[in-house]
């Protein structure tokens, strides 16, 4: 089913509103005029009634008919019936009078043979209980015609005004929605090369400002991710270029002239180191690529975190002792998690922490059992990391030390990125906080489902 456009929808709504309003006004006017006519008729008939009663009272029986005819002849649309107390018809001023008239006293409206009458029933002698009844009839056909014309006019007004507002509304909606079209024009113009385009938020009406803001924020995120991705590809090439060029140069130089066997062995060993570093890099990148494609699926098993981390602490103990760093763990919690992945994630953090802790410093691992999550933090003493670098720590190939050595057997700068991927694969979060004197990585893992 095709969706109706926003402009037509608004135009139709406008039209419907106008129709309802004008219909309501018309009906109200119609009612008011009808009431006004009834009031006029009542006054006229009441006046006539008084005249007739007086005429009939004063006169002798013989003169009555002539006087009545005289009284009624002055008004062509008026006729009279007099009925006796026994229901006998005494007098009709005209042959047009319908046979049956309403019996109740007071004003009523009847319709007969295409003619409408207002009928006023009243006793001739109000003080006598068995008084003959006077029925005064007023022909109101022309009133009714007027009201009918009014009704037609109302319908016409309703129709025309609805049509007019539909057209006007469509135009208004189109011009009102112009900012939306501008947004879509910007969106159309966006490609990988122009992710820096933004909507001018100050020119957008307040109703759309939030959407424009979200839209701009989305563009900013895309831009950022894209930048990172491009930087990542460039970094991969860069990281591989150094060891590759070492390998090429070293091998070619070695082969340029005959050498003692020891030199060949040395060359091969050196090549082996470069190659191992490259293999490690490729494996780490494949791991990250797998995480990016959502293929890193943790095999969850119940783990006692204190035991798991103690195993890791034992693994790192030689390194810590060697560096004169105090390595401790406190707290415990149970969690469902992938043992091998968790070990890898935490070992990267511990390795990282030990790398940056000065002698006599400490690395402490803290486990906090929270109601819905487990918090694992790895804190180390040391210089601390400046706030503007914190968000970049998890970037691939990012090394806090600017004098990084590519191709050395030192780490490739993917450790924290891998840790982050593992934590995310578990539905958790990781962040780093630091101040002068300490740095702390905090992992929060949700407790099962």
């Amino acid at each position: 089913m095709r969706r109706m456009s926003l402009s037509s929808r608004l135009a139709l709504l406008f039209a419907a509103c106008t129709a309802v309003v004008s219909l309501f006004a018309g009906v109200l006017f119609n009612r008011a005029s009808e009431a006004h006519f009834i009031e006029l008729d009542q006054q006229q008939l009441d006046g006539k009634l008084i005249g007739l009663r007086r005429a009939l009272q004063d006169l002798q029986p013989g003169q009555r008919e002539a006087r009545l005819a005289d009284e009624l002849s002055r008004q062509a649309d008026l006729s009279l019936r007099i009925t006796g107390a026994d229901g006998q018809r005494w007098y009709d001023s005209s042959t047009q009078i319908p046979k049956d008239l309403p019996q109740q006293t007071g004003l009523s409206t009847i319709s007969n043979d295409g003619t409408d009458y207002r009928v006023l029933n009243a006793p001739l002698y109000p003080e006598k209980p068995d008084s003959p009844q006077l029925s005064l009839l007023l022909d109101i056909t022309h009133h009714q015609h007027f009201l009918q014309r009014m009704q037609h006019l109302i319908w016409l007004t309703v129709g025309l005004s609805a049509l007019a507002t539909a057209l006007l509304g469509a135009w208004a909606a189109r011009s009102g929605l112009r900012p939306l079209r501008r947004m879509s024009a910007v969106a159309r113009g966006i490609s990988a090369q122009s992710l820096n385009a933004r909507l001018p938020e100050e020119q957008i009406p307040p109703e759309l400002a939030e959407m424009a803001h979200s839209f701009n924020a989305m563009l900013a995120r895309l831009d950022d991710s894209f930048q990172r991705l491009s930087a990542f590809s460039a970094d991969i090439a860069h990281e591989l270029r150094t060891p590759l060029s070492n390998l090429l140069t070293h091998t070619q130089v070695t082969l340029t002239r005959p050498r003692p066997i020891e030199d060949y062995r040395e060359a091969l060993h050196s090549n082996l180191e470069e190659l191992q570093w490259m293999a490690q890099l490729v494996n780490d990148m494949l791991y990250l690529a797998k995480a990016d494609h959502g293929l890193l699926i943790p095999k969850r098993e119940p783990l006692e975190l204190a035991d798991e981390t103690d195993v890791l602490l034992e693994f790192f103990a030689p390194l810590a002792e060697d560096a004169g760093v105090k390595l401790t763990r406190e707290g415990h919690a149970r969690i469902e998690s992938d043992r091998s992945m968790l070990r890898r994630a935490l070992s990267n953090l511990l390795d990282n922490a030990l790398r940056f802790t000065p002698a006599e410093g400490y690395v402490s691992l803290r486990i906090v059992d929270q109601p819905s999550a487990v918090r694992i933090s790895v804190e180390n003493s040391g210089e601390g990391i400046s706030a503007e670098l914190l968000p970049r720590l998890f970037d691939r190939f990012y090394r806090a030390d600017p004098a990084r050595q590519e191709g050395s057997s030192e780490h490739a700068g993917l450790g924290l990125a891998i840790t982050q991927s593992i934590v995310r694969a578990h539905g958790g979060q990781i962040h780093c906080e630091s101040e002068a004197g300490w740095t702390r990585f905090v992992i929060e893992l949700p407790k099962g489902d």
């Binding site: 494949l286 293929l295 699926i297 693994f315 030689p318 060697d322 450790g415």
Partner: protein, 226 residues
């Protein structure tokens, strides 16, 4: 003791055969799945090294045929794929080990030796020895030249592994996995430090060094002429 390598990439196959032959194994190399399966079913081999992607018949099909024929020859898979499902699939079919390319040859060699050793019944030793180094498994004591040496539990486990596999080059990843149960690639230098600390206690005071570094490959415990 014969090993069968089924690998369709010529260079890889050649290097594998050369490396394993020089390590003292009798090896045979075929490049396609069908002849690989025929040979494997003959039952003449102590170990099969199978690539997964092969022309004719893939490694899993060969493994399936071998297990269906009732043979329990150990099987080591080599693959460029690292999907967890692949690994699980291979192990479900009855593979004994799994190596993802790129791998280090020293790693492959160590695993081949582990698999071959698994078949043979190991006698329950009470002590291990190399030259004047003695490790008492029951009392958990280490002596060198009659001198008692105090080791931590992990140092003891590390030395035990080196002694049990003396003469073999043990890659760092294998040591991390066997001694500390850390089964992942890590660029940490914990193993280097642990070996250095072990050397400090075992080797430093003695002229005859036993723990040797094989550059780029790992560590080996053996007696080398002075």
């Amino acid at each position: 003791m014969k090993l069968l390598i089924v690998e369709d990439q010529a260079k890889t196959g050649q290097y594998l055969r050369q490396g394993l032959t020089e390590a003292g194994f009798n090896t045979e190399l075929v490049a396609d799945g069908n002849s690989g399966q025929q040979l494997a079913l003959s039952g003449d081999y102590a170990l099969l090294i199978l690539d997964v992607m092969l022309p004719g018949r893939n490694g899993w099909q060969i493994l399936h045929a071998v297990r269906s024929a009732g043979l329990d020859t150990p099987v080591l898979f080599l693959t460029a794929k690292d999907a967890v499902e692949d690994r699980v699939h291979g192990l479900e079919l009855g593979a004994d080990d799994y190596l993802v390319k790129p791998f280090a040859f020293s790693e492959l060699l160590a695993r081949v030796r582990s698999l071959l050793r698994r078949g043979s019944a190991t006698t329950q030793e009470t002590s291990l020895q190399l030259a004047d180094l003695r490790l008492d498994l029951i009392r958990r004591r280490v002596e060198r030249s009659g001198q008692r040496i105090d080791l931590t539990a992990k140092e003891f486990a590390l030395l035990e592994m080196l002694l049990r596999r003396q003469g073999e080059v043990l890659p760092k990843s294998l040591i991390a996995s066997q001694v500390w149960d850390m089964n992942f690639d890590s660029d940490t230098n914990v193993i280097e430090v642990a070996i250095r600390r072990l050397r400090l206690k075992i080797d430093d005071e003695f002229p005859n060094k036993l723990i040797h570094t094989v550059r780029g490959m790992g560590y080996v415990l053996e007696e080398r002429g002075a």
